[in-house]
């Protein structure tokens, strides 16, 4: 079957609908070296992304040159370059991106660069990391603690710091232990801790949960635990947390917190064998509405189990409803589509 390549329009340049790879590469390289004729961030991003898709190695070498930029008018190119490095990183390109981030003035560009540094480091082979992650973590921490850093950017930096993994955990713990920073970063800390993917972070998240009884905050802690629970099969240390989590499904006072606890617990591979739990979420799907029902639907989807006949009937009703919220219908449909009935 011949695949038709989507059209890419570059001002007056129309890329033919079928074109071989080397010709596309030549065309994009030519256009990418003269971006003064290309307007709009989206077109620039598409261009550089398309170029990187056909020649990632050259793009990684090419992108740092773009990082130098020419004043604020070229912020689109710097953003696109940062994303290119994140998608196909090598250690040198990530170092260059980190250096550019430190001196960048446009806060939107800094935000993209921070996320791209984190994504790039996550994709690098461990053998290439050397001290890069540790260096990046130190830089992120410095920028977070800078009082002139806008809050909007600081939130991005905290999550990006978490993505650096084990190198980030000591910095995040220190922020959590410093009252002034803990208060400012309260909302971001659970997710940032979870992004480290370190089993030890589960205890930190549970501690945050226990210290704040607000339902809105507790749901965020549970969401963060969900990320670590996803790796439950490989993290036996999380077994303790699973028992605690299971208790939250039935003991929490706030019904929405109970529902989010169910969604998080359901992500643990062992949850599918917890027949009482599976029975409970089936019951709650039938007796709840709104955000609670949505969370229980997501819980059932996460268990990967085929629904019992009685629950299947409920799901079919939800999926075909004209009044049920759209997302509820989509989740019900996804569960049914995952376990189609054998017509035979």
């Amino acid at each position: 079957m011949t695949m038709i390549i989507p059209l890419l329009t570059l001002n007056a340049i129309i890329v033919p609908s079928t074109i071989n790879t080397s010709s596309l590469e030549q065309l994009l390289k030519l256009a990418a070296t003269d971006l003064t004729s290309i307007s709009g961030i989206q077109t620039q991003q598409e261009l550089i992304s398309q170029y990187a898709a056909v020649n990632g190695d050259v793009a990684a070498q090419f992108a740092p040159t773009l990082l130098a930029g020419v004043g604020d008018a070229r912020s689109g190119m710097r953003i696109a370059s940062a994303r290119t490095i994140a998608a196909r990183p090598d250690a040198d390109a990530v170092y260059a991106l980190l250096a550019a981030m430190i001196v960048e003035n446009d806060q939107r560009v800094v935000s993209t660069m921070a996320r791209s540094v984190a994504a790039g480091i996550q994709r690098l082979p461990a053998t290439d990391l050397q001290s890069l992650a540790a260096y990046a973590a130190a830089q992120f921490d410095t920028m977070i603690r800078d009082h002139t850093t806008p809050h909007e950017l600081r939130k991005t930096l905290v999550i990006s710091l978490g993505r650096l993994g084990s190198d980030a955990l000591p910095y995040l713990r220190l922020l959590a232990e410093t009252p002034a920073w803990a208060e400012r970063l309260h909302s971001s800390l659970p997710a940032a801790l979870a992004e480290t993917r370190q089993p030890a972070a589960a205890a930190d998240i549970v501690a945050l949960y226990e210290a704040d009884s607000n339902p809105g905050y507790r749901t965020s802690c549970l969401q963060a635990l969900g990320m670590l629970t996803r790796q439950g099969a490989a993290l036996p240390a999380l077994g303790v947390q699973n028992a605690w989590l299971r208790a939250r499904v039935e003991q929490e006072a706030d019904p929405r917190v109970r529902a989010i606890a169910a969604t998080t617990y359901a992500k643990w591979p062992g949850a599918a064998n917890d027949t009482e739990f599976v029975k409970l979420i089936g019951q709650r799907i039938q007796t709840t509405t709104g955000d609670e029902r949505k969370a229980y639907l997501r819980s059932l989807l996460a268990t990967l189990l085929p629904p019992e006949p009685s629950i299947r009937t409920v799901l079919e009703s939800i999926a075909s409803s004209q009044t049920e919220p759209l997302t509820h219908r989509k989740i019900a449909w996804s569960i049914l589509a995952s376990h189609p009935i054998d017509p035979r």
């Binding site: 806008p150 449909w333 996804s334």
Partner: protein, 265 residues
């Protein structure tokens, strides 16, 4: 799945080869599954916010309702990973045998705005015995004298849909997301046609597509020239105007002068 293509069949019998081909056009799947609901609840967490001490504490923000962080398209398994938001399947038999494709998705935009409790009328004082932020700034002769109600409303509108509250307003964070979605396209529709020879490759492709949309939405709603202009903060005639002062905790008094405005949100 592929949107269109040419299917070729070739068969040989007794040394004679016959080849035929036809153009197959596959219509994009439509319906509720391939659209993304976007919603935002205003001022949703009454206990949110850090003490306003003149060191960059935010007065308001917009964020994902469940995770409380800056994620727009959810659910995200982790940052920039939408594995939990898509249901995939491997085709069995036929011309697409073995290909992985997206059979459904649970993507949504489920946001909330939050307003700092210390900023609001009746909010807690910065320390025991002190006047709270609202009353101090609202007092005669102070930064937002007799106009703090409008200031707080402008703050709320800045996070939501501008002044007056209007869908797709360019003067509010949520309004800008609504507006930008028309430019980026619906993420559910964007992944409808994705297919790959392995599950991992399909998820990677989905993440790349949705990630680009998420990035574009975040860039479009980031603070820029719109943040402190227009009917929210644009000076004379706007709902909110001016700047406020915050509390110098080291000296147990409010800072003299008025410094903190829209760049604080």
């Amino acid at each position: 799945m592929v949107l269109s293509g040419t299917v070729s069949v070739s068969a040989s019998l007794l040394g004679v080869t016959c080849t035929n081909s036809m153009t197959a056009t596959v219509a994009q799947r439509s319906g509720p599954t391939w659209s993304t609901l976007g919603s935002c609840v205003e001022d949703n967490e009454p206990n949110w916010g850090a003490n306003l001490l003149g060191m960059g504490e935010p007065m308001g923000e917009i964020r994902d309702k469940d995770s409380n962080i800056w994620r727009i398209i959810v659910p995200q398994t982790s940052e920039d990973d939408w594995t939990d938001g898509v249901t995939v399947r491997q085709a069995s038999g036929g011309p697409n045998d073995g290909l992985w494709y997206v059979v459904g998705n649970t993507l949504e935009i489920d946001l909330e705005t939050v307003i700092n409790k210390f900023a609001k009328s009746g909010g807690p004082p910065p320390e025991p015995g002190a006047t709270n932020f609202y009353d101090y700034n609202n007092a005669a002769g102070n930064c937002i004298a007799a106009d703090m109600a409008d200031f707080i409303q402008a703050l709320k509108n800045h996070e939501y849909r501008g002044t007056p509250s209007t869908a797709k307003s360019l003067e509010g964070h949520f309004g800008r997301i609504e507006y930008a979605l028309d430019l980026t396209g619906d993420p559910a529709q964007a992944i409808e046609d994705h297919a790959a020879t392995s599950q991992a490759a399909l998820i990677s492709s989905v993440n790349t597509t949705i990630g680009a949309i998420e990035d574009s939405l975040k860039l479009f709603t980031a603070h820029g020239t719109w943040s402190d202009a227009g009917p929210n903060w644009g000076g004379t005639g706007s709902l909110g105007s001016g700047t406020c002062t915050e509390y110098d905790i080291d000296n147990s008094r409010y800072y003299s002068g008025c410094y903190y405005g829209p760049s604080h949100f």
